[in-house]
Amino acid sequence: MDRVLIIDDDIELCELLAARMSGEGFEIEAVHDGAHGLERALSREHSMVVLDLMLPAMGGLEVLRRVREQSPIPVLILTARGEDVDRILGLEIGADDYLPKPFNPRELIARIRAVLRRTVRVGTGTHPLIAGDIRLDPGAREARLQGRLISLTSVEFALLEMLLQHAGRIVTREELTESVLGRKLGPFDRVIDVHVSNIRKKLGVSQGVERIKAIRGSGYLLVVRAETK
């Protein structure tokens, strides 16, 4: 049974969600303030965190920042619809996906399942993927750059894995969204782009060129260069 931590100050909503989701095979722990939520999120007792960004005292973004300092646990953020800035910030800090509030509970469950499927899944090919100085080991869920271990969130890992599998070829944003986030690409959906930008920051540039190239209007491509020099 997957344990999911919900950090939301709406106590009644948490109770309803716990009741609804227990029927779907989830065990819900609800926490109603940021500080306590942070402590529980770092307890390693949960498979994922659902975090409302609108929290009193320690805000959701702050909780997320501190969680990410120590843990790659999948985090789904709940944002008020239209609060684009919070949403983008949340994704940049390292949230895996977002859902605008109020949400349909079926949608929430689907998103949670998609994220969990990705983390639980042991890589399709268990052999390591290598492109230039990047080495990804899906079995061990390890990513190395020039032999150095880099920390990726589960979405970032899945995204990079997908790009490595198709190294040198274009992967469309639609394909990436469906494979990595387990849902359809919506209009003005920038989630994939934020994740790519986060990965770029972690990988740095290679010989003065971005390793992941954006193909305008279609998608992304992992640049493979012959090691001539």
């Binding site: 709406d10 009644e12 909503l13 309803l16 969600l17 009741a19 609804r20 029927g23 779907e24 008020a80 619809r81 239209g82 684009d84 800035v85 509030k101 109020p102 949400f103 349909n104 509970p105 079926r106 209009p187 003005f188």
Partner: protein, 460 residues
């Protein structure tokens, strides 16, 4: 009427007075310092007058010496109020007071051996050489009354100069006065227009506020009024925002509770209705929040170059599905690709609202026509035309107000909350564009959108 020291009345009064005075003073100054010349036809009579006085003075000098000459000149000055002096040939004064006033004329009088004329302070002066009986020569210089015509001179250049001075001095001062009075009025007017145009933060300039006169008071009152209006409107907008925001928590709970009640299964009719209404409520609140946010403009929008041809194409593609269900065809006409500078997401939702609205009100079996093209050099023109019933002329403007719906359209079937066009209106205004509705013949409504075009950046 109580007059403050700084009042406009006194200002106007004193300024006009000052203008009149300054003009007068300028005239007098040119009169005094202007170069004057004595008309030549008066020379002989003036010379005669001066010579006769001079001869007497000289005779007195030769008879009784310097004291006698001095006493004659003193009595001459007393009688005529005119100044006179007797000099030797080298310009050294012999009799008379304040003789240096003639100094400039002496050398010329001594060398030319004829009478020398001049005008100073509007009075004619003559200096001439007088032969003494002892063989030595003397110079006699005197002022003479010659009448105002002599002072003004007869030559036209001097007349033109004086009138010119009068015109330019009074004109310049009046210009400054007008500027001083009308400048702030014009600036206040500009501020009032901006305020009426929706820029609620507009205030009269500090330079107007600082004035002590009626215009300053008007400026301060204007600012008080503007601040009050801004406060009222922002409070109202904040209220809409807060209410919409607070409604979301119970809505979120209702969503979960409903889903829980139906046990995660679909099918039951009442539950379906409830879910449908919940979705509507959510949509409406979402749109209200968008409107509140656009009105307060708290967050600066991310503006990029938007390919409008692409955007409109996507909207039409998305809308075709809904149109099919209503048996309506959507046609799209676009030319070369057009770009606008703006927020793609907002523009998308604004235009989508208009297109969906057109589909909703189009009569079954008709078409909705969407066309996009350049309008002049600087704008894009987007026209969405349907073949529905149109809108009563009186309501053409009001359809852009939130929750406004044409009376007969107030049926459940039409759906929507009457917020779509209100959103479109605000989005376009933020982008510096306009949106208006027109009825077209034989039937139908045409929504005309104009939006500033972006300068095309070369595609890299």
């Amino acid at each position: 009427m109580k007059l403050a020291i700084q009042s406009l009345f006194l200002k106007i009064f004193f300024w006009f007075w000052a203008t009149a005075l300054a003009t007068g003073i300028a005239l007098v100054i040119t009169f005094i310092f202007g170069p004057g010349r004595v008309p030549s036809r008066w020379h002989s009579s003036l010379t005669d007058t001066a010579r006769s006085s001079g001869m007497i003075a000289l005779a007195e000098l030769e008879r009784g010496g310097v004291p006698a000459a001095s006493s004659y000149i003193e009595s001459f000055e007393r009688d005529t109020q005119l100044r006179a002096c007797l000099f030797d040939l080298y310009g050294k004064p012999i009799a008379g007071r304040e003789c240096e006033t003639f100094a400039d004329m002496l050398t010329r009088a001594a060398t030319s051996r004829s009478a020398e004329f001049g005008v100073k302070y509007g009075i004619v002066r003559v200096a001439l050489l007088l032969p003494g009986s002892g063989g030595s020569d003397y110079i006699f210089a005197t002022e003479l009354p010659a009448g105002p015509r002599a002072a003004f001179g007869m030559d036209t250049a001097a007349v033109v100069l004086r009138f010119g001075v009068a015109f330019s001095v009074s004109g310049f001062i009046c210009y400054l006065l007008t500027l001083y009075l009308t400048g702030p009025i014009l600036r206040l007017r500009e501020a009032a227009q901006q305020l009426a145009g929706g820029m609620l933060s507009t205030r009269a300039a500090a330079s107007i506020e600082r004035r002590g006169d009626e215009l300053g008071a008007l400026g301060r009152d204007f600012n008080t009024m503007a601040a009050r209006i801004e406060e009222l409107i922002s409070r109202q907008r904040q209220l809409i925002f807060d209410v919409s925001h607070e409604l979301r928590s119970p809505l979120a709970r209702l969503n979960v509770a409903l889903d829980l009640a139906r046990g995660g299964k679909a099918g039951d009719l009442p539950f379906n209705h409830m879910e449908c209404d919940l979705a509507r409520l959510d949509e409406m609140i979402g749109r209200l929040l968008i409107i509140a946010r656009l009105d307060t403009a708290a967050v600066p929008l991310e503006m990029t170059s938007v390919n409008m041809t692409d955007l409109v194409g996507r909207i039409v593609d998305d809308a075709r599905f809904e149109a099919q269900n209503r048996n309506v065809v959507v046609n799209l006409t676009t030319g070369e690709s057009c770009h606008a500078r703006g927020n793609a997401e907002l523009l998308y939702s604004a235009i989508e609202n208009v297109v969906r609205n057109a589909i909703r009100y189009a009569a079954a079996g008709t078409s909705v026509h969407v066309s996009l093209g350049p309008q002049g050099k600087s704008h894009l023109l987007l026209v969405i035309r349907d073949h529905g019933k149109g809108v009563p002329e009186a309501d053409l403007q009001r359809i852009f107000q939130p929750f406004f719906r044409v009376a007969e359209a107030r049926d459940r079937e039409s759906g929507g909350a009457g917020l779509g066009l209100a959103i479109a209106d605000r989005v376009l205004r933020i982008h510096g564009g306009t949106i208006r509705a027109e009825n077209v013949q034989p039937s139908g409504l045409e929504i005309v959108i104009e939006i500033p075009a972006a300068e095309l950046t070369p595609v890299s």
